[in-house]
Each structure stands twice: as C-alpha cells, then as structure tokens.
C-alpha cells in the first residue's frame, strides 16, 4: 500500500499557519514524498480560524482528504472544528498553554516567551515535535528550518530542538518511512504561473492586489531582481491593463493578474486588445462571487465570463491549468500564443490551484520563447497588413523608418481610422481568420488531458484544480477523466474522440450552475450528471467518493 500521511495545522490568522504547513510539507518532501498543501483562511488579518492540510504520499496527490493522521492545534477552536477528522491512531500535537486535549501537549507559548521570541516560533517547536513523532532525525528538521525561516534562524533551530526533545512517549509513534526520491520543488499555482511566464519572456508584471492573485504579485516582486523583471502596482485595474498594453505595444512581454472584480474593470481593455491586436496575458484568479463574495475561498465561477467578456467580436484564448506543473507550462504557452497571434490570452485559475502547493517536476528547458511574426524590414510598414492567417508582422516604436500605429477604431492596414464598409468587413474577417488559425494551432497541442481508464463507461469531466480529487477517485474506481486545458477555442475535436460510447458523462466543478457541463452541452455533447460544490471549499477526495457513489450507481 502507498505510504500516506495527512497533517492539519490550525490556529488563528497571524499564527503563521500557512508557514507551518509549508515547513511540514518540506519535511515530507525531503523524505521523498509527493505533497499537496491546502490552505483555508478567512478575509481578516488577525484572529478567526485558519488551517492548512498537508497531505504527503508515495504517489502524486493533488487534493486533501477529510481525515488526518496528525492535528497540530494552536488553539482550542482547531480541535472543536477539526476533531472529527481524527482516526484511530491519529495524534494531536497541541499548545498545552492554551489548549486542553489528549495527545502530545507542549508548552509552545512558554517556549516562545521564555526566549522572548515572537509567538510565531510556536510553529518551529511544533515542527520539531512532529518530526519526533514521525521518528525522524533532527538534522532533517534543521535543514527545513534553515531553508524556510528568514529571521532568527539559530533561535528557531533551538526552539525546534526543544520541541523535538519533548515528544516523550510519542517519539516514533508514526514511524514514517523515507522513500527513495529526490526532493521536488513545492510550488503554488501562483508561483508556477509566475515562473512559467518569466521563462517565456515576461519582463513586466502589473497588478493591483486582489486575492487570490496577490501572492503572484508578491512572489514576482520579491524575486524581481533574480528574474530580471519589473513589477508595478498602479492605481487600479484599469491602469493595470492599460500600462501592460502600452508596454506590449512597445515590445515587452507582460502579464497582469487579478480576480473577478478586477477582471471586470479590464474588460474594456480586453476589447481594445481585440481591435488593436495587442498581445496580453491576463491571469484571472477565481474566488466565490458574485461581487466581493468570499474573498479568500474557492470557486470556479468564471468559465463563460472570460470567454464572452468584452464588447464586439474578437479572438481570444482561454486556458485553464489544474495543478502547478500545468500552470507553469500553460503560463509559458499563454505568452507564446498571445504573441504569436497578437491576441489576449486569459489564464483562468481557481483559488485552490493558486493558493495550494503541489510537488512539481519542472523542466525549464522545455519552455522556449517562440519568436513572433516580426516585420522583415522590407518595404513600407503596415501594422495591420492583411495576411491569410489574420496575423500581421510586428514592429515596435523606436524602429527607424517605421511608423507603428495601433488603433481602437476600425482602421486600414496602416492603422488609420476608417468607417468604410468594405474595410469593416475585411477587418472582421481578419479577426475570423485569426480565430481559425488559433484553432488550427491548438489542434496540434495538448488541449485536454485524460487519466484513469478511458475505456470505462463513466468518464468524469472536470477543470482546474478540481482535477486533483477527480483523478484520484477515478483511478481508484476505474473511471476515466477528461480535463480540458483550453476552454476557448473549446477542443471539440477531443470530445469527439473521447465521448462516443460513454454511458455516463459526469461533470465535477466548483460552481452552482455547472458551467463546464453547460459549455460541453452547448457544443452538442451529452452530459449525464453534474457534481457541483459551491460552499467556497475545495472538494476533498472523500467528499467526491461519497458523491460519486450516488451518480455512478
């Protein structure tokens, strides 16, 4: 049987729960495990209830389970809320200074305060204790602390050791087996998107803070020097996309990141990108709406919106990764496609993809910057030269002898405004030609992924991070899984290949109207059932197993 452990760490906002989760994940990572880290936090800065679930397994896992082997509780609420997750043989590690419980109690607050360290070092002490219950050697803890803590490193190691040494009878209680794998990078969707874009030539990231895209802003800003990029935060999202489009016009690869509300404000500029043919990548982070909704929770509520946003008709690409690896490669592909076709590309990413962390095996050598169609230098330059595929050669301002005119109005080939009916039709057809060229290109790419037994009668269809739970359940129960990576143009050719003969097509997604299901049906395919979850929380493996019984019976 596959070795597998789940650890839940809970406390208040400000307790550093997310950091603690990261450290635990690193610990298992160094033991050769695949890890998945799910973060659940509220829209507040102190107090409330936050928790993180780290799942570590001998096989790749990308969703969490309801039950856990260890709970690390920094407050009583954690046990009240999550006690039901304990199984036979589970352990509770808790701060005995503030929590009453059975299990391994440690005076975590006292450990911190006697050293005059901030309360947040409770994490490190708990990490030490946890490692001890897992029967690990201390040097592993020390390595993890050194790799993840920035301030008070030596003190943290001392604190960890104290926790380690205090585990008493729990030492080795869950004796974890080291696996024979090298550690893998643990990346959130946000981080993977940032790195993928940079590998495909991103030089300017522009964003206004908004959950769940804010970590991408912080990550790129924090690593800007090493990545050789600039990161700017303007007055609002309209400025964000305006600045990015200006920079793209001047020849620089850009990306903007936001969530639904900010995306709304970018929609007019999306249409501008369509008319003026400006390459732009928009990362649309999803959270439960409408309006402000639940800012720090999970949903897949925007499938149709990015596909149909903006006035008028113009080509666009909508891409939807489901884990950090896909996020990395598709973010890079988004850049290349945007520049190849001079269109907006919207990268839709749900909360749990962006804010969860995944063990990821990335090959940076696989990502190349595709050179866009550039002006060859011969003859007079026409920004909107009519071509068979609707794509005109690019030139950038600053090129001697060239005038680069882009235009929000209908225009002639030079970019000068026109109201002529013939040119109007020609431009509409230029856009249609591009749409066709994009579809032709996508037919050559991997636009859907399949998992499990595609010969089975039941195929689960899903998108985004929901695939984590779906793939696991399907593999267990012998179903097939189809996950579209591209939502627009929608890879109907793949559906045609995979759907015939299936008796039971079940869509699984995190919204209340079954948007992917509707989108599939809109294209003439049958969907038999939907499994929808819209309480703001990502689907767990167990929940899906429950629900799947109902629909596959």
């Amino acid at each position: 049987m596959v070795q597998e452990y789940s650890v839940l760490i809970g406390g208040q906002a400000g307790d550093g729960i997310r950091l603690a989760g990261g450290s635990v994940a690193r610990l298992f990572n160094r033991l050769g495990y695949w890890v998945f880290v799910y973060n659940d936090y509220q829209s507040l800065i102190r107090g409330g209830h936050n928790f993180t679930v780290v799942r570590a397994s001998g096989k790749r896992v990308q969703a969490h389970r309801n039950k856990v082997d260890i709970i690390v509780a920094f407050n009583q609420e954690t046990l009240e809320k999550h006690g039901w997750r304990l199984k036979d043989g589970s352990i509770v590690i808790f701060d005995s200074d503030s929590v009453k419980a059975e299990g391994l109690g440690l005076p975590l607050t006292g450990i911190a305060s006697k050293r005059n360290l901030p309360l947040i070092v409770r994490n490190t002490a708990a990490l030490g204790a946890l490692a001890s219950t897992l029967g690990l050697e201390f040097h592993l803890v020390e390595e993890v602390v050194r790799s993840s803590v920035r301030r008070n490193v030596e003190e943290n190691i001392a604190v960890a050791k104290e926790g380690y040494d205090m585990s008493g009878g729990y030492r080795g209680f869950l004796r974890v087996q080291a696996l024979n794998n090298p550690p893998r990078p643990i990346l959130s969707g946000n981080e993977a998107i940032g790195l993928g874009a940079v590998k495909a030539g991103l030089k300017l990231y522009v964003a206004y803070p908004m959950t769940p895209s804010t970590p991408l802003l912080h990550y790129l800003a924090g690593n800007a020097d090493e990545l050789g990029i600039a990161v700017v935060q303007p007055e609002n999202e309209i400025a964000v996309i305006g600045i990015a489009e200006g920079a793209a016009y001047a020849g620089v690869r850009t990306m903007v990141g936001t969530s639904g509300g900010g995306f709304c404000l970018m929609v007019e500029h999306l249409s501008l990108a369509g008319q003026a043919e400006i390459p732009i990548v928009i990362m649309l982070g999803e959270r439960p709406g409408p309006a402000i909704g639940l800012p720090t929770y999970h949903a897949q509520g925007e499938l149709f919106f990015p596909i149909f946003a903006g006035h008028g008709e113009f080509p666009r690409i909508v891409v939807s990764p489901g884990d950090a690896e896909e996020a990395f490669y598709l973010s890079a592909e988004a850049q290349n496609l945007a520049w190849r076709f001079q269109v907006p590309v919207i990268l839709v990413a749900d909360y749990s993809l962006l804010e969860s962390s995944f063990s990821s095996v990335l090959d940076e050598g696989r990502v190349l910057i595709e050179k866009p169609k550039m002006w060859s230098g011969g003859g007079e330059y026409k920004r909107y030269l009519l071509t068979w595929d609707g794509v005109s050669p690019l030139a950038f301002p600053g090129t001697a002898g060239v005038t680069v005119k882009v235009n929000s109005y209908e225009h002639d080939e030079y970019g000068v405004t026109t109201e002529d009916p013939v040119l109007t039709v020609r431009n509409a057809e230029k856009r249609l030609a591009k749409s066709r060229a994009i579809e032709d290109e996508l037919r050559k790419k991997e636009t859907v992924k399949t998992y499990g037994n595609m010969q089975a009668e039941t195929v689960l269809v899903t998108w985004g991070s929901t695939k984590g739970a779906v793939v696991e359940v399907a593999e267990e129960h012998g179903f097939g899984v189809l996950q579209p990576l591209y939502l627009n143009p929608f890879p109907v050719w793949e559906m045609e290949k995979h759907f015939p003969g299936k008796k039971n097509i079940v869509c699984v997604e995190a919204n209340s109207t079954g948007q992917l299901a509707r989108w599939i049906m809109f294209h003439g395919f049958r969907v038999d059932r939907t499994i929808l979850k819209y309480d703001g929380r990502a689907l767990t493996v167990d929940e899906l197993e429950e629900k799947i019984k109902e629909v596959s019976a």
Binding site: K199, I238, G251, L272
Partner: protein
C-alpha cells in the same frame, strides 16, 4: 535634411470642423516635432503619441508618427507602460478634457504623482465635443448642452491646481490660437525630464465657441516675470481664473510651475532594460522551493 511640418502629415482626411482649435494644436505639435528632430534633440522614430477618444483623439490619424489610439479616458496608462517598456521613447498623450479629467481622471493624477517622464496635452475645449456637446469637468457652471438644457449643475475643476497638488513637475497652459507659444511649450514639455502637463485652451467652434472670450483675456506668465520655481506663486496664478465665466479679466498662459525630481521609470527600472531578450535560469529558485 531638415524636416518640415508637411513631413509629419498623413493621407487621412481631416474631419475637424472649420475653425476648430484642434488645428492649432496639430500644427504646434508637428512643428515642435520637426524642430526638435532638426535640432537633433529627439529622433523621429522615438516619438509616440497616445490619444484618448474624442475630437482630440483624431490627431493620431493626422500626424505621421508612432501612435496608440486608445480608449476614451485611457490614454495615459498605456503611455506610462510605453515609457516603462522603452524609456528612450518620447511619449506624449493627447487627451480631451472629458477624457483625461473625467472618464480617466485617476490616471492623470497618478502619472503626475509618479513623475513619469512624459507629456500630457489636454485639448481643453471644455465640452464633450465628439458626442455633440455635453458639459465636462472644465465646463463653466450653467453650461447649456444636450444633457443640461437648464445649465450644468457643477462648478468646474481647475486642472492646473489639480496638477500642482498631484506632483506634476511641469505645469503649463496654452491657447491654441497662439501657435508659436503653444509650439514652444510643447517643445519644452518634451524636453522636460519628468511629467509635463499642458492644458491647451482649445475653442470648439461648434459646441463652445470661446474665441471671443479667451482672445482679450489671455496673458503670458513668462512676460510678467512669474517665477515658475515657486509653487505658491504658481498656485496663486492658477487661481486667477477658475474656468468660470465673464467675471474674470485675465487668464494666464505659459509655465506655472517647473521642478526637478527623479522619474518613475528611473526608480522602477533601476537601470533594467525590459527589452533585453535574455531569460533567467530558475533552477536556483526551484531549489529554494524544495
């Protein structure tokens, strides 16, 4: 070979009304471009005009230089992006009063605050002209237009004052009829290192004919020894005329204020060139994620 005004013309048919103040701005801009190129101070291919939407925006079609004809109210943000992408470019935003002081006011204020090295030229006809004559942020109270048949209910906003408190480092006003003066201001604005703002009083012959009003009132600040290094003096001059009506006798034009401070792109880029095509290795970063 020395460039002339005509060298900056395009084949586009001009559709401004006869008598429109925009012709003066167009001439001033073309002359300023030609002279600066001839003087070796800028390169023609480095000029980029970004325009809003309105009668003013049509200038993008009429001048044969790089241009980004943007959305209504949204010229200034792309201009900032262009400058960040390539600081060698001379970026000018030609905007409307409705456009840059109404629809997209925030971008104007923030570009000034940041001291982006660019020039904003407001075609301030104090009316939404292309949409046939509604009141704008700079229209006088009581202005009668399609949406306000009984007169605009609001006091105007004074863009000079607004720019002075927003941090603009070059704040000027021009009158489109005074071609030479306008041209000189445009040249100085382009050469200014930092955010330059020129509010050009541009009569709209069709919807708000202000020729007779401005003619006898405008006077040149520089001829009256105004010290543009003095912010308080600039504010006092700005307040001589608040974009109202008959009661005022003198309207200052020229440079109100000029100062020197670091530009946004200097600070943000810190010497980095975003057009540099090299791509970093990320293996080191990935290692830190293990």
């Amino acid at each position: 070979m020395s460039l002339r005004l005509e060298d900056f013309s395009t084949y586009a048919r001009n559709t401004w009304c006869p008598g429109c103040g925009n012709f003066g701005i167009e001439r001033a801009a073309k002359l300023a471009f030609a002279e600066l190129v001839n003087e070796g101070k800028i390169r023609r291919e480095n000029i980029v005009m970004v325009t809003g939407i309105g009668c003013h925006g049509k200038i993008a079609d009429y001048i044969n230089v790089n241009s980004f004809y943007s959305l209504h109210g949204r010229a200034i943000a792309p201009a900032v992006g262009i400058k960040l992408a390539n600081p060698m470019l001379e970026v000018l935003a030609f905007v409307g009063d409705g456009d840059a002081l109404g629809e997209g006011l925030e971008h104007t204020v923030f570009a000034a605050k940041r001291n982006v090295d660019m020039t904003v030229i407001v075609h301030d006809n104090r009316v939404y002209a292309l949409t046939t004559g509604q009141f704008t942020p700079t229209s006088p109270k009581g202005f009668r237009g399609g949406s306000t048949p009984r007169g605009a209910p609001e006091e105007p906003l004074n863009p000079i004052e607004l720019m002075l408190v927003s941090g603009a480092t070059f704040v000027a006003r021009a009158y489109s009829v005074n071609l030479n003066h306008t041209k000189e201001l445009v040249k100085q604005a382009i050469l200014h290192r930092g955010f330059a703002f020129i509010d050009v009083l541009q009569p709209c012959y069709t919807f708000f004919d202000t020729y007779k009003y401005y003619g006898p009132r405008v006077y040149d600040l520089q001829k009256e020894g105004h010290d543009y290094a003095d912010w308080d003096a600039a504010m006092a001059r700005a307040r001589e005329w608040n974009y109202g009506g008959e009661e005022v006798e003198r309207i200052p034009i020229g440079i109100f204020f000029k100062a020197d401070r670091p530009t946004y792109e200097e600070i943000v880029l810190a010497g980095r060139n975003l057009r540099d095509a090299s791509v970093p290795k990320i293996s080191g970063i990935l290692l830190r994620h293990t």
